[in-house]
């Protein structure tokens, strides 16, 4: 009850500070909008609704094979073919109006017919981005490989015919040019619609759940990451609030009041806890509904609301308890302001809130596991992206609970009224 009184007073103070409230609620949404690609989607003036990478093509050949290549690129998905004149394409590429230009060389059709090696040139502007360029290159290579199949089969049949040159005439007749061409063509046509060996990709089916269809998009990855980042940034508010109380001497007065240290700290944690819950609700609501209004795919909140709710509650508790530790360690206003902010940002980055955890673990090893952010990110990813239920996040929840207990004990142990 005494803790509630302390919390109620702190909530009043917090609600009066509109600047802080805006910062806690607006900044996460701003980060999500920037990194999810929503800004680009909102202001895109061309190809609205088409998420394929534009691929300008300069066809110097104009033959049948070039047309087959272009059709293959269109059918492959991922890129949207746009035909350009050579001079126009070069000028636009130099001005960075275009990111890539694929040039089909002259005599492409003739060289392929003669089984001569041909080279497709994909020229990219430095600003195109390595990942984007690599995606385009993989698509072009895949289509080129499929196109080469017919020639490979034909060359094989012709080679077999040559190896049987000394065999009886019926063997040579079997590998006559017309027959081998027809065979190669029929196999190529079949392979175009139904490849002999395909690679299919799917995501795992969660136990007892429906099959998921897609990989996580940038926005789905951004929402849990920034929720964790900003929820833990609120720890600074708890620390500041405790520092202010010490500064104005209200804690000294509370020494004389019949309130335990634990009740006092619980009361200081509660407003931050509630703020973190509201903050998470706003971020998730924006992810689920707001992003759709901006024209990009909304995020899913997983299929176990209870698991999500418990993870959020633990995350908010852990953040509040971390605030007690900051207040116990920091000695000056500057340390609480700048240094704690620095520490919280570093913990968030190491914990995988900005750069995904699986990338960080490749070069930091198990280091990210020492921060609660890592476990919070893992828990939210498991529930929201991997579609796991409560049983799939028990380890992560136990880790968050452990951090909370540890932070509270340190906060209690190091706490001083003055």
């Amino acid at each position: 009850m005494k803790a509630l009184s302390v919390a109620w007073k702190d909530l009043h103070i917090l609600l009066k500070d509109r600047g802080t409230a805006i910062r806690l609620l607006v900044l996460p949404l701003l980060f999500i909008v920037i990194t999810s690609g929503a800004l680009t989607a909102m202001t895109a003036d061309q190809n609205q609704g088409d998420r394929r990478i534009p691929l300008p093509v300069v066809d110097l050949d104009g033959g049948e094979a070039a047309r087959t290549l272009v059709d293959g690129l269109e059918a492959a998905g991922g890129v949207q073919v746009q035909q350009y004149d050579p001079s126009e394409a070069t000028a636009l590429l130099n001005e960075n109006e275009l990111d890539h230009v694929l040039t089909i060389p002259a005599a492409f059709t003739e060289d392929l017919a003669q089984n001569r090696t041909v080279t497709l040139r994909l020229v990219s502007h430095p600003n195109a981005g390595t990942a984007r360029t690599e995606s385009v290159r993989l698509v072009v290579e895949g289509v080129a490989r499929d196109m080469a199949l017919e020639t490979q089969i034909l060359a094989s049949l012709q080679q077999m015919g040559q190896m049987l040159a000394d065999a009886p005439p019926e063997y040579q007749a079997a590998f006559a040019v017309e027959r081998t061409q027809a065979q190669a063509r029929s196999q190529f046509e079949r392979a175009s619609s139904q490849p002999l060996v395909a690679v299919t990709q799917r995501v795992p089916t969660p136990v007892g759940g429906e099959e998921q269809e897609e990989l996580a998009s940038a926005n789905l990855l951004a929402v849990p990451g920034y929720a964790v980042l900003f929820v833990f940034l609120t720890a600074q508010a708890t620390a500041s609030s405790i520092y202010e109380e010490k500064k104005v001497g209200s804690f000294r007065r509370l020494l004389a009041a019949p309130i335990s240290k634990a009740s006092l700290l619980a009361g200081k944690m509660l407003p931050n806890f509630l703020t973190a819950l509201v903050q998470t609700a706003v971020i998730f609501a924006f992810g689920a509904f707001g992003l759709r209004l901006l024209g990009i795919a909304s995020v899913t909140l997983g299929r176990d609301p209870l698991a999500l709710a418990l993870v959020v509650v633990l995350m908010a508790l852990c953040s509040s308890a971390l605030g007690l530790v900051i207040a116990a360690i920091a000695r000056t206003e500057n340390q609480i302001g700048g240094l704690s902010q620095l520490m919280l940002w570093v913990m968030a980055i190491v914990g995988g809130s900005i750069v995904p955890g699986f990338i960080l673990e490749m070069f930091l090893g198990p280091l990210p596991r020492i921060v609660p952010h890592y476990w919070a990110n893992r828990a939210l990813d498991n529930v929201m992206i991997r579609g796991l239920t409560l049983s799939g996040v028990t380890t992560e929840m136990a880790a968050l609970l452990g951090f909370t207990a540890l932070f509270f004990v340190i906060g209690l142990w190091r706490f001083e009224f003055e």
Binding site: G19, I22, R23, L27, L30, I34, G37, L39, T40, N115, T117, T119, L120, V123, S124, P126, N127, T130, R137, L138, R145, A148, L149, Q152, I153, S156, Q159, L164, E170, A174, Q183, A184, Q194, P195, L196, V197, R202, V203, P204, E214, L215, S217, L221, T332, N334, Q335, G337, G338, L339, Q341, W345, I349, I354, F358, I359, M362, F363, N382, R386, L388
Partner: protein, 423 residues
Amino acid sequence: MDMLRYILSVAWKEVQLIVKDRGALAVLFLLPILLASLIAAPNVMFAEEQAESAILLDVALVNQDPGNFGTEVAKAIREIKQLNVETFDAVADAEGRVARGQTTAAIVIPADFSQAIDAYAPTAIEVIVDPAEPESSSIVSGIMNQVVAEVTIWGEVQYGIRSVLEQSSLLANASPQERRALEAQNLGVIMTRLNEMRRSPLIAVVSEDLAGAESDPNWVLKYLAYVFPAFTVMFIFFIVGISANSLLKERETGVLRRLAAAPIPHAAVIIGKMLAYMVLACLQVIVLLGLAKAAFGVPLGQSPGALVVLTLVTALVATALGMLLGTVARTSSQAENLGYLLGFVLAGVGGSIPIGPTTMFFRASGIMGILSRLTPQGNAVDAFNRVMAEGASFGQVLPQVGILLAMGIVFTGIAASRFRFQS
């Protein structure tokens, strides 16, 4: 001369206050260093791993096929240096690991894989990917497409030769010895094709940059020549909130009122404050870009003069915007919050939050590009990047310098006209 002395006195007072605020200094210097380094390090690591083909991804392999093709594909997968392969007997076990995020992907070779290829019946290798690791999933699927390309050629060539022989009834009439000879020749043809395909693909795809160089080996450094200036500029503009807060605190505590009574020209107070924060901004550039050069080898371009001028005009805009905010905000707390928000919003729109190359909004076409180029951050990062990554000269970044200078003058003008020593 007196004016200069007054300006320097005010600036020195401000510098002493700044130095005492260790928290703010940590935010202005350490935070951008850590952010930029944490984004730079994985990129440098990936570039090195690409060159050395080091282990990148954990995958689970389930080979249910007892035949030759399954064995060959499994062997090929294990030999790929980018993959750390763990073998499983049951699909459920491998899939469970992916579902829990313990493995990037599971590769499943079906039981009838060899049988299907021998019978020329379509078959598929299944790649089960972790939905939370889309980048890794693309890499695994891309690798598997390359692996199956060879098996496909094998199956197609084998079927083609066999079909021609069957259509001619040659196989049916052949003796067992002739059949063995034909099979051996068939295998010889397949091996020749595969070697040919590995040595020189019929249709080669060459990826080049504008200069015609194949896949730029310095792409990481060029990318970092965006990351470091972007974070530098982003954190320079956090001076906006700090300087506005300082100005308003002095008004709230009556310091400005006392200064108004002192024999110091009013302009010296503002200019002195701006000078101190400009020095701070210049130090930020020196520390961050110096670290970028020393620790990561990020190029600083061919024009030191252009970098110096850019630093000065960027510092001018940030401090002038801070003074402007100081004259608009009503309280020091409001100024700090507005400055913080303004810093993030303008950095976001201006392409100064470098999460990837796609955040270079100042180079984008359309409304986003226009909005980005309207922000001081967009112009500053664009110019720094041109000088550092593309070796642009001072003349080539003159438009951005001009825009920043104009912004600095306008902001200072408005701030000066609105400035009051007391509320």
